[in-house]
C-alpha cells in the first residue's frame, strides 16, 4: 500500500492514522508541543524578573538595533523556507536549493548577531552569573540560539538531500518537516523580541 501511495504521489497512510494526518508531521507537532512547554518556563522566568532593578540596568545597555536586525533576518528566513516548499511543489529543484541556501545563510547571520549581542553585554559586565535577571536572559536566549543552530544543521542536511535530488513535487515531506521546526523557532523569537527589546 505504501509503495502504491508513493508511486501515486501521496504520503503513505499507516493503519490507525487519524483521517488526513501524516504521522511524520504529527510527530513534529508533538515535538513542538514539548518545546512550547520548555520555552514557556523560560519566558515565565524572564517575565518574573521584568522591570526589577537588575533588569533595568541590563536593559539600558541592550542594543535594540541588533534585536531589530535579528528579527528581520529570522522573519525573512521563514519566508525563504515556504518559498522553497512552493518551489519543489512546482518541480523547481534549483529554486528549492537556492531558498534552502538562503535559509542557512540567514540562520547563520542570526547566530552571528546573537554572538555579537552576548559579547557586547559581557563587555558591559553582564555575565550569566551577574544577577538572576541576566541568568534568565542568557538561558532563554541561548536555548533559542541552540534551536537556531540545530535548525541550521538540519537545513544543511535538507540541502544535501535536495542537492542529491531526493525531493520531487510528489515527495518533499523532509522539507515540510524542517519548515515546521524552523517556523516554530521563528514564532518563539517573535515573542522573545517583544519581551526583551520592546516592553
Amino acid at each position: 500500500m505504501s509503495d502504491l501511495a508513493a508511486t501515486q504521489g501521496h504520503a503513505p497512510v499507516e493503519p490507525g492514522s487519524l483521517p488526513g494526518v501524516d504521522n511524520r508531521k504529527f510527530g513534529v507537532w508533538l515535538f513542538i508541543v514539548n518545546e512550547i512547554m520548555f520555552f514557556a518556563a523560560f519566558i515565565g522566568l524572564f517575565i518574573a524578573y521584568k522591570n526589577t532593578p537588575e533588569m533595568a540596568d541590563f536593559h539600558a545597555v541592550l542594543e535594540q538595533s541588533l534585536g531589530i536586525i535579528g528579527t528581520s533576518v529570522l522573519l525573512f528566513s521563514s519566508l525563504m523556507v515556504v518559498l522553497g516548499i512552493a518551489a519543489i511543489q512546482r518541480g523547481s529543484q534549483r529554486g528549492l536549493r537556492l531558498f534552502l541556501l538562503l535559509t542557512i545563510l540567514l540562520g547563520a547571520v542570526f547566530l552571528g548577531i546573537q554572538a555579537t549581542e552576548f559579547t557586547l553585554l559581557h563587555e558591559h559586565g553582564f555575565a550569566l552569573d551577574t544577577s538572576s535577571a541576566t541568568s534568565a536572559f542568557y538561558v532563554m536566549t541561548s536555548f533559542h540560539g541552540l534551536h537556531v543552530f540545530i535548525g541550521v544543521v538540519w537545513a544543511c542536511g535538507v540541502l544535501f538531500a535536495a542537492w542529491r535530488k531526493w525531493f520531487t513535487p510528489q515527495k518533499y515531506a523532509g522539507v515540510e518537516l524542517f519548515g515546521l521546526y524552523w517556523h516554530f523557532v521563528d514564532v518563539v523569537w517573535i515573542i522573545l523580541f517583544m519581551l526583551i527589546y520592546l516592553i
Binding site: M1, A5, G9, H10, A11, P12, V13, P15, G16, S17, L18, P19, G20, V21, D22, K25, F26, W29, L30, V33, I36, M37, A40, A41, I43, G44, I47, A48, K50, N51, T52, Q64, I68, S72, L75, F76, S78, L79, V81, V82, L83, I85, A86, Q89, K171, Y172, A173, E176, G179, H183, F184, D186, V187, I190, I191, F193, M194, Y197, L198, I199
Partner: protein, 105 residues
Amino acid sequence: MTDTHEAKDLQAPHIKWPKYVAVAVVLAVMTAVEIALALGHFLPQQLTTLILIGFTLAKAALVMLFYMHLKYDTKWYSLVLVFPLFMVVILFGVVLIAAAARNIF
C-alpha cells in the same frame, strides 16, 4: 481509518508563493509598527504594552496559520496545540498576577 482517506497529498498544501510574500509583508509592517510604538512613546506605557502583546500574538498566529499551514491542514494538528496553550495561559496568568502585585508592568 481505512486506506481510502489518502485521496490527497498529506505532505503540505499547495499555496501560491504570492500569498507567502503577502504574509511576509504584513509581518514586516506589523514589526515596523511595533518598533515605532515602542521607541516613539506616543501612547501611555500600559496601552503600548497591551498593543505590543496583541501584535505579537497576531504575528505568531499568522506564521502558524499560513507558514505552518494550520489554516489548510487537518484540524488534528491544531487540536494538539490546545492543551499546551491552555497550560501556557495558566502559567503566564500566574506570573503576570505575581508581576502585577509587584507593579512590574
